[in-house]
């Protein structure tokens, strides 16, 4: 009985995380703020759902599998968010007027200045290697 209540709260909470992400994706103005909203169901929502599963089944052998599942998501989602954010920054899919601070801007400017071969080469290597200054 108590378990049912806990499972219900966890399930509805996890579903509300997904709803928050959906609303955020529709309402937020640019890519970076949408990325902020999109991470909610990926990490916290999944955690709530997996906890609901663990409470529902009440079996210890299940726990390592769920932990593995969550750790995997925890390792992969920052990497993909970083890749998407970096690509978004480079292709200027962000609204500068909404930013309060852009620390990367100084770094990019300094790297472009310090490069002896000039900005042309920096641009070329950046496009080629996908790494580089930013």
């Amino acid at each position: 009985m108590v378990n049912d209540v806990i499972v219900s709260v966890l399930l509805v909470g996890g579903a509300l995380m997904s709803l928050a992400a959906g609303i955020g994706l529709v309402r937020f103005p640019d890519l970076l703020s949408r990325m902020h909203a999109a991470t909610k169901p990926q990490v916290l929502g999944l955690l709530l759902f997996l906890l609901a599963l663990a409470v529902e089944f009440e079996s210890w052998p299940l726990v390592p599998v769920l932990v593995l599942c969550w750790i995997f998501q925890l390792l992969t989602s920052p990497v993909s968010a970083h890749m998407v954010g970096r690509a978004g920054y480079r292709t200027r899919h962000l609204r500068r007027d909404l930013l309060t601070l852009d620390e990367l801007d100084d770094v990019v400017a300094r790297a472009a200045e310090g490069d002896p071969a000039g900005p042309d080469r920096t641009e070329a290597t950046r496009r080629e290697a996908g790494g580089g200054t930013a």
């Binding site: 994706l25 169901p41 990926q42 995997f72």
Partner: protein, 85 residues
């Protein structure tokens, strides 16, 4: 318990519709990738909901697979977004 499953399923359905709206409208391909990542997260949530409702554990492998697919997909697309002028 059945009511809770239906309520959570309804909320997930609304969430996936909103995410799909952004995937269709999204001005850039990165917005679409982001929205489809959310769709995958909601699909994973639906799999867990299905396991809780039916009291079985058949979908656990699918859950890991889905997060792997989402990772590979968004990294691949983000890698090939270049600055075309």
């Amino acid at each position: 318990m059945t009511t809770v499953v239906y309520v959570a399923g309804g909320i997930l359905a609304i969430a996936v519709l909103l995410a799909l709206y952004r995937a269709v409208r999204g001005p850039s391909i990165l917005d679409r990738v982001l929205a489809l990542d959310v769709v995958l997260a909601v699909v994973g949530a639906g799999l867990v909901l299905n396991m809780v409702a039916g009291r079985h554990l058949d979908n656990l492998v699918l859950l890991v697979t889905i997060s792997l697919i989402g990772f590979i997909g968004s990294v691949t697309v983000a890698r090939f977004v270049t600055d075309r002028k």
